[in-house]
């Protein structure tokens, strides 16, 4: 395993969390959440990658060929599905917030309550 992809992962998590903490706009905040999640794709790919490995389709190559790990793509795909569900739900909340209260600022939403 190389160290470089892991530095990238930490960087992506860092900027994502920074974005969520400083954002004043819900949609922007949700996008930052997606950024945090996308770090897990990079991590999964980095974990499964094998330098010089072939694609794991053994129909036209000998079964003993070194290939990259096929499991991580299944994990990443599941991860994408989860993300799609969470993002869609969160964006629908944001739309409702804008429709009903005319604001997408999390601080305003919090202070106007009650």
């Amino acid at each position: 395993m190389q160290i470089f992809p892991f530095i990238v992962v930490v960087w992506i998590v860092g900027i994502g969390l920074y974005g969520i903490v400083t954002s004043r706009h819900l949609v922007h905040q949700i996008m930052c959440l997606i950024v945090v999640q996308s770090s897990t794709y990079v991590l999964l790919l980095a974990v499964g990658y094998l330098t010089g490995g072939a694609a794991p389709y053994f129909s036209d190559i000998p079964t003993r060929t070194r290939a990259v790990d096929p499991v991580v793509q299944a994990l990443a795909l599941t991860d994408v599905v989860v993300e799609a569900a969470v993002t869609a739900l969160l964006l629908s909340f944001a739309i409702q917030a804008h429709k009903r209260f005319g604001t997408l600022d999390p601080q305003e939403l919090a202070s106007l309550r009650g």
Partner: protein, 616 residues
């Protein structure tokens, strides 16, 4: 017969899909919709109870599609059921059944997706408890999460639910992604996703830095779910605004599932590699103590009843984390029994609060003072459940207090008992004031009243009768707490302790899953006296309950006794009499997601630093 394992999750999922598909049909036949949901949840209870009976003699493993492991390598995906995991899943299903029955009359009009979401939530809980695959653990976690976010925002036309759901969803999602990162790392090291196989690998690589980092990340994600300080902020926001029958599930099992996840992951994957380190145990103890104190302080100063109950859940979650963190069989026994007792009485309390909202139209303690005198049955159930929360024998919780404190240092025991007294007093204060009119009539502060009035709209209010379908589930749950507490005198403790010893035996877990071994539960591993209801536990329980009643009466008559004002206000508009430290505490629960995530990052950094220090 083995198909029960698969059916326990596929039945609720299929029922949820069918309910959505047949929506136009169900829209006109509300009773059929309720019946379908209650019957589905009830059938899951039966299935899980059958599984519990079957695993009483020893854990069982179910391999989906029959892909059994070959030579210690897991090929398929498994469900692993032991007494503790199946028991927790059963508890969840019982609470879903109770709250679906309650919802029947609670919601005048309800969209079909409410029932579907509840059933998906149920499937998520069951899968989370039973799965033996770490990636599936994440998927069930997220399935449960997405259903919970949507249920929180069940009334999206109001500001509170939207904001609570957003905070809940964003913090919990970040937690889940941290867990997933940990899972990816441990997969990269071991090449396995099966928890037993990973456990076998980590045991061969003790002290590996990768294992420590993976443990930290998975732990952090589960701590968010378990609402441990400083990851707890989302909980009160979500609980205050979610519909009451949903709060029953959130407080009763969802938070506890986070703690169960920590125990499961630790003892299946990391116990061998990390060892039962004194430092790690101390860290969890301190985290638990801080959480218990913070939860109790907020709980005591709250006047919104649902929020008050939510803060008491945070406090109890801290006590449970410390008990699990003892890494001793007696600690886990205490935690398991405490989870049962707490879930039953907390659910009953939330259901009673729902009835109050249904009948009287508010959950503000001050406005309700003396208003609930007519609700005799509700008042009785509430009082019994509140005393149960304050450890009164024979309600289950008193059993656990002694066991979970057994191995702890004296200062921790004192803190936890004090927290139980304070939260118990807060809950009793509400009961005595609302249902029996005890105490000084409150003076009204219009600004505070406005701040407290964030409920409304979730049920049609001002009804003249309490429907039986609302009071019976609450009474049954409180009665179950008494019945199980009485079992404590008849050897419940020894049985749970045997299950706890089995749960903590990583070697036996690996052998069961990977090599198909049939290992019976150890019989009476400890002197029976140690794990049964003793005179000391009864005495402690009575003393704690008496202390709670005393503190509750003191706060109710605070004006006559010239004690300072009680309730917390929103930040920036603080009352004088409270010390500065309390004012600083107020500012934390700001309701702004940015602050919560900042705390989460800070907490993660501190946790990482401490674990790095401890392990090396």
């Amino acid at each position: 017969m083995n198909q029960l394992f698969a059916l326990a999750v596929t039945v609720p999922l299929a029922a949820a899909a069918a309910i959505c598909a047949l929506r136009p049909f169900f829209d006109r036949r509300r009773w059929l919709l309720d019946l379908a949901a209650i019957v589905t949840a009830g059938s899951v209870v039966v299935m899980l109870a059958l599984i519990m009976a079957r695993v009483a003699g020893g854990d069982q493993v179910y391999w989906f599609a029959g892909f059994r492991p070959a030579r210690g390598v897991a090929i398929g995906i498994d469900f692993e059921a032991g007494s503790l995991s199946a028991g927790l899943a059963t508890l969840g299903a019982v609470l879903v059944t109770a709250s679906m029955t309650f919802s029947r009359r609670y919601f005048e009009r309800v969209a079909t997706y409410y029932h579907a979401l509840m059933l998906i939530f149920l499937a998520g809980m069951t899968g989370f408890c039973l799965t033996g695959d770490i990636f599936d653990l994440f998927v069930w976690f997220e399935l449960m999460g997405v259903a919970a976010y949507a249920l929180t925002a069940y009334r999206p036309e109001e500001r509170g639910p939207l904001q609570g759901a957003l905070n809940f969803a964003i913090t919990n999602s970040i937690g889940a992604y941290l867990s997933l990162s940990g899972i990816a790392l441990v997969y990269g090291g071991s090449g396995a996703l099966n928890m037993a196989q990973i456990g076998a690998w980590t045991t061969r690589h003790p002290g590996s830095r990768l294992v420590v980092v993976a443990f930290l990340l998975i732990l952090a994600g589960l701590l968010v779910k378990a609402a441990i300080v400083p990851f707890h902020f989302w909980l009160a926001d979500a609980h205050a605004v979610a519909p009451t029958p949903v709060c029953v599930l959130f407080s009763g099992v969802m938070v506890e599932l986070g703690l169960y996840g920590i125990a499961r992951v630790y003892w299946s994957m990391f116990a061998g590699a990390l060892g039962h380190q004194y430092g790690l145990s101390r860290l969890l103890l301190v985290l638990g103590a801080v959480t218990a104190v913070v939860g109790a302080l907020y709980c005591f100063r709250e006047r919104h009843i649902k929020r008050l109950l939510a803060f008491s859940t945070i406090s109890h979650s801290g006590i449970l984390l410390a008990a699990i963190g003892r890494f001793a069989p007696l600690g886990l026994t205490g935690a398991a029994v405490y989870i049962i007792g707490h879930a039953l009485v907390k659910a009953a309390l939330f259901l009673c609060t729902g009835i109050v909202l249904h009948r009287l139209g508010t959950v503000d303690e001050v406005r309700l003072h003396g208003q609930g005198r007519r609700l005799r049955a509700t008042g009785l159930v509430y009082a019994v459940a509140a005393l149960g929360l304050a450890d009164l024998p024979p309600l289950t919780t008193f059993l656990a207090e002694g066991w979970s404190d057994e191995a702890g240092p004296g200062w921790a025991v004192a803190i936890f008992l004090a927290c139980v007294i304070v939260t118990g007093a807060a809950v009793l204060r509400v009961g005595l004031g609302v249902f029996y009119g005890v105490g000084d009539p409150p003076g009204e502060d219009p600004q505070q009243a406005r701040e407290a009035a964030e409920e409304t709209g979730e049920t049609v209010t001002g009804r003249h009768h309490t429907p039986l379908s609302m009071i019976i589930p609450a009474a049954v749950l409180a009665g179950a707490a008494i019945a199980i507490g009485c079992l404590g005198f008849a050897g419940l403790g020894a049985a749970v302790e045997a299950a706890a010893v089995r749960f903590q035996d990583q070697g036996a877990y690996i052998a069961t899953v990977l090599h198909g071994a049939r290992i019976a539960h150890p019989v009476a591993p400890f002197p029976a006296a140690e794990a049964s209801a003793s005179g000391a536990s009864v005495a402690t329980g009575v003393a704690v309950a008496a202390g709670s009643v005393a503190v509750a009466l003191l706060t109710l008559y605070r004006r006559r006794l010239r004690l300072p004002g009680l309730y917390r206000r929103r930040p920036r508009r603080l009352a004088r009499p409270w010390p500065r430290a309390a004012m600083i505490l107020e500012g934390f629960q700001s309701g702004v997601i940015n602050d919560y995530v900042a705390w989460l990052v800070l907490g993660l950094a501190c946790l990482g630093g401490l674990i790095a220090l401890i392990v090396h």
